[in-house]
């Protein structure tokens, strides 16, 4: 189990990347970790490059920004261009509904948005992504993410997000 993770969630404004980063951070807190989540965005509330960063560590997190990502989620071509060209060891997860398919050992393309649409709401795409990313890398436990979902949402919304999380988990098994 790694002691420290640096994660980049990149795409465009309105894709829910910051909420996604917050939920990941909240899950890590449940596991007793320190978390710093930062964000960078432009002046538009929709569209434009947007990025959430999450650092999870057993120890104190001194510098607050990601310097060497262990994991990337890319939801736009622009984000992919920026981060896929990095180290070939860094796993990059991306949405094949929104981006063209690429090949590479570190590239994990899944149709998150299409799967979310089938589930009933495209807003759950990020949860599918968090599910598969956590399952593949051991970032946080599924139970922690489920606990965060149940704390944040209730009723049908919570139910749908749990389903999304499980879809992500199932993708990892493939």
């Amino acid at each position: 189990m790694k002691e420290r993770y640096e994660i980049i969630l990149a795409g465009s404004g309105g894709q829910g990347l910051i909420v996604c980063g917050m939920m990941l951070g909240e899950a890590a807190i449940l596991e007793g970790k320190n978390v710093v989540q930062t964000q960078s965005y432009g002046i538009a509330s929709r569209g434009g490059f947007s990025k959430a960063e999450v650092i999870i560590d057993r120890d104190e997190i001194i510098f607050q920004q990601v310097q060497k990502p262990d994991l990337v989620l890319a939801l736009t071509e622009e984000a992919m261009e920026i981060y896929a060209s990095g180290s070939p060891e860094i796993p990059v997860f991306y949405d094949t509904t929104l981006l063209k398919t690429r090949s590479g050992e570190n590239l994990y393309g899944f149709p998150f948005t299409e799967m979310a649409r089938e589930l009933g709401h495209t807003g759950t795409a990020n949860m599918i992504a968090l599910g598969v990313m956590s399952a593949v890398t051991g970032l946080v436990k599924m139970e922690s993410l489920a606990a965060v979902i149940n704390k944040r949402f209730s009723g049908k919304v919570a139910e749908m997000n749990i389903k999304a999380l499980n879809l992500g988990l199932a993708l990892a098994a493939k």
Binding site: I29, N34, V35, Q37, G42, I43, I62, F63, Q64
Partner: protein, 375 residues
Amino acid sequence: MVETAKLIQGNQAIAEGAIYAGARFFAGYPITPSSEVAEECSRRMPRVGGVYMQMEDEIASMGAIVGASLAGVKSFTATSGPGFSLMQENLGFAVMAEVPCVVVNVQRSGPSTGLATKPAQSDIMQVRWGRHGDQIVIALSPSSVKECFDLTVQAFNLSEKFRVPVILAADEIVAHMRENFTPPAPGELQVIDRKKPTVPPEQYKPFEPESDGIAPLAAYGSEYVFHVTSSMHGPEGVSNNNPANATWKVSQLHKKLELYRDEIVLTKTFDVEDMDILLVAFGAVTRAARAAAVEARKTGIKAGVLQLVTVWPFPDRELAQLAGRVKTVVVPEMNYSGQVAGEVRRVLGPDPDIKQVNKFNGQIITPQDILKAII
């Protein structure tokens, strides 16, 4: 109930810190990157019996918190560059009329509307000298979510104790950052309330300092009826153009803070015991400096960090004492001109080698940026 760690944003911690400190009035005009302070207050103030007031602009916001404070309620506002500029006139009023209040300035890139969503530390001199007239101002600068909370409480305490406006000079990085944070239990942090008059109403002089140098402040609407003016005034609060009175008044505004200088000036140090290089930082950049010091030590360079928790009054003695041990001082800050580096030069004179690391394009200073100046 024991509070558990939550993922909390800096701006949210500022709002919660204010409520913890006893603030029950917020007036503001939301502006990036401070808007979440207003947002949080709009939700939380009504629940704690306080008032959230959305104003038409920042001039009115500052006026409203001065008024509310004079009515006896701990008050604050939050803004960024353009709004902070508009607040200067009424902020000066608060200085002259000795009205306790807290102004949160979440610094963003300028000049003018600049890069609205990007961080900067370029208001440091505006915080100090933004108003006309001679005065001292207290400004604190947080580097983490925890410090956003703690220093907001501290800002209210200093403000209440000394009857002065206090500025929380945050930056976009800490304001928008989220960290795991456990809010302190009630009573865990000290909360100071302003001194109230003990004399009968007819004997009350609103601007007459007691032996501690501070005048008690009654509340508007109470049995104490008093006059407040931004013009030169005597202990009774009415206009007074006598030169002797002006000498007394301007001196008193300075002396009441000079007297308590050591209580106001807060700093933190990291790895300074055996250092050869001193990094002087404040706000979020403290973290890059600390990380740079850790990295430098891996290459055998002994670097230490002085964090200016209080930016104004400038921690001159603390800096001079530490800088005496080193040949090189490095000042990283997110502005072009080196607003704090200039102060460091003023304090240390020409002897040490003072290097600046400046970034002013909305991007964050990294440990590597600082290391380049060290190695």
